[in-house]
Amino acid sequence: MFEIDGLTKTYNRSRQQVHALRNISLKIDAGSFVTVTGPSGSGKTTLLLSLGGLIHPSAGVVKHGDMNLYDLSASRLAEFRNRTIGFVLQTFNLVPYLTAVENVMLPMLPQRRNGTDPKPRAIELLDQLGLADRRDFLPRELSVGQQQRVAIARALGNEPEVILADEPTGNLDPALAAEILDVLGDLNKSQGKTVVMVTHSPQAAARAGTVLKLTDGMLVS
């Protein structure tokens, strides 16, 4: 599914070069559950963003199938993200003035060319994630666990092949974290979604079939 070859990302910060990723090469198979671990600043999120077409590498290629992501135009890359990737973020990033169901519909809006109503699909996703009675709640009216489940529903809106999760349990207590990991595990097992998850948590990492460890921008295992 993903093939990364010689991926390097360098930032200029305060006139100094920071190497976020150094010559990373790896393959991620379709349907796999991969966690990326490592200390803060090791390049985990940069790797995740690179897979999501959100950060142009300084060198190397990121391929999805036969397609080099960074050869695509900005609009095609956005379309790729919209159709292929579902993002789950540590702080959920729900739009505060929209209800749960409206937040879930957000990724479906750019694809509404045929005029289909995205609402039934959004409701179905919220129902599957146990939020049937919370559809019309604003994010501030939901618990953090419910907010993260809304974020997962949003990530699934366009039935993506891949879920990219950045510290999805980072803001949750252990019980809620386990709940969210169960949801992600289920998506991987029962729906065959490829899940790539950045995490600090050993418990979360233990759920994955493959664990990648980064240190100082380099893949160490």
Binding site: E79, N93, V95, Y97
Partner: protein, 408 residues
């Protein structure tokens, strides 16, 4: 209601209406000021234009080779030209000819006194003398003229003030209006009989003193004057009330083409006054409009900038989940347009109501709502809103989602 980009915009505006008020207020107040000023100046422009009209005709058609002094001296051999020229001008339908007044003047003796007999066509007479209108003698509706162009080459001098004439709406074939001086010298009053060139006329009006040569005139119907003087079908001059831009656009040249054997000239001080007044009013309105557009755009830009900054995380998230730049543009431009429309409508209402309510008290003017200003308000409000918003929106569409995630 279907969930669309517009839903998001409206929801954001409603949920954060407190913050939106400052942006909307900037547009609303800007438009309100424009509409109120425009409403007042539109009415005052008409008032000023009418007052300018009172200065008299601004174009004079004279026989070729004649000058205004020939006309005023009205000597027995003063040159004339055919009355048919009036028809030529009328049938040419030249834009900018607001009114015409053909005249025939000759100096005659009555009881040993030298007076000027002037034949006029009543219905065509120009509005001219404020003092006569104040006497209730002017019943022709004044037309508001505007600034004619300046033609220094052919402009007359300030002394030509005497060229101005008054307006009357009816004058019988045996009626005569007499100037103040004539009435004094010949001991005439309203109702007196007056023999002129062997024919008896009744004095229907004694004109108030003007301090000009008009005090020494007697006015009779043009065709009566032609019969009395034995110069049928001839006139001494045509006074024309020409309008503003058409004079600049070559009205004088067009008149010269129609009447090649005449001398056509403007009356300098009237033209100058009209130009200066109208130019000043137009400049003031333009300066205000520019200031308001700049201040309004800056205010709305400030609000949109703050709005984009406040929503960086949200925008980054939307880009992350696959929204393209066009969607971000759509989201914020829709908001900008909604603000523009709302500001335009509110501004029009506030401005119009203020002008209608305050106009009579503050400016002594009766002001009516002008619906056309609503469309202009919407246009200017949209301009202000889009002008102020474009850069914040441009920035919004280029927010780096990776930076947003790193801000977490």
């Amino acid at each position: 209601m279907a969930f669309t980009f517009r839903t998001i915009v409206l929801r954001e505006i409603i949920q954060r209406k407190g913050r939106m008020v400052s942006g909307l207020l900037a547009i609303t107040l800007g438009i309100a000021v424009i509409v109120a000023i425009q409403s007042v100046t539109s009415v005052s422009r008409q008032v000023v234009a009418k007052k300018l009209d009172l200065l008299g005709a601004n174009i004079m058609v004279l026989p070729q080779g004649a000058n205004v002094d020939d006309y005023y001296s009205a000597d027995i051999d003063a040159p004339t030209f055919p009355e048919e020229y009036v028809e030529r001008i009328a049938t040419s339908m030249l834009p900018g000819v607001d009114n015409m007044s053909p005249k025939l003047s000759r100096r005659i003796k009555i009881n040993g006194s030298s007076v000027i007999l002037t034949g006029i066509l009543p219905a065509n007479e120009l509005a001219s003398k404020p003092i006569w209108q104040a006497s209730g003698l002017m019943s022709v509706e004044l037309q508001a003229a505007c600034a004619p162009s300046q033609n220094k080459e052919t402009s007359l001098t300030e002394n030509d003030l005497k060229a101005q004439r008054k307006a009357v709406d009816s004058l019988g074939s045996n009626e005569v209006w007499v100037g103040n001086l004539v009435a004094e010298r010949l001991n005439l009053k309203t109702g007196s009989s007056l023999p002129i060139e062997g024919r008896t006329f009744q004095v229907t009006h004694v004109l108030p003193e003007t301090g000009t040569i008009d005090d020494n005139r007697m006015f009779v119907h043009l065709h009566t004057a032609q019969q009395l003087l034995g110069i049928g079908g001839q006139i001494s001059n045509i006074e024309i009330m020409g309008c503003c831009s058409e004079i600049s656009d070559g009205l004088l040249g067009k008149l010269r083409n129609i009447l090649p054997d005449t001398r056509i000239t403007t009356i300098g001080h009237i033209v100058n006054t009209q130009i200066e007044t109208n130019t000043l009013m137009a400049k003031v309105a333009l300066v205000l409009l520019v200031i308001i557009i700049l201040v309004g755009s800056f205010s709305i830009g400030n609000y949109m900038w703050a709005n984009v900054e406040e929503r960086r995380k949200e925008i980054g998230t939307l880009i992350t989940i696959g929204w393209g730049r066009k969607h971000i543009y759509w989201l914020f431009f829709t908001k900008s347009i909604i603000l523009g429309l709302a500001g335009g409508i509110l501004g029009y209402l506030v401005g119009t109501i203020s002008a209608v309510l305050l106009g009579p008290y503050l400016a002594g003017l009766d002001i009516s709502p002008v619906l056309t200003y609503l469309w202009w308000s919407l246009l200017v409000a949209m301009l202000i809103s889009l002008l102020g918003s474009w850069y914040p929106i441009y920035r919004a569409a280029r927010i780096d989602p990776a930076i947003i995630m790193q801000e977490v």
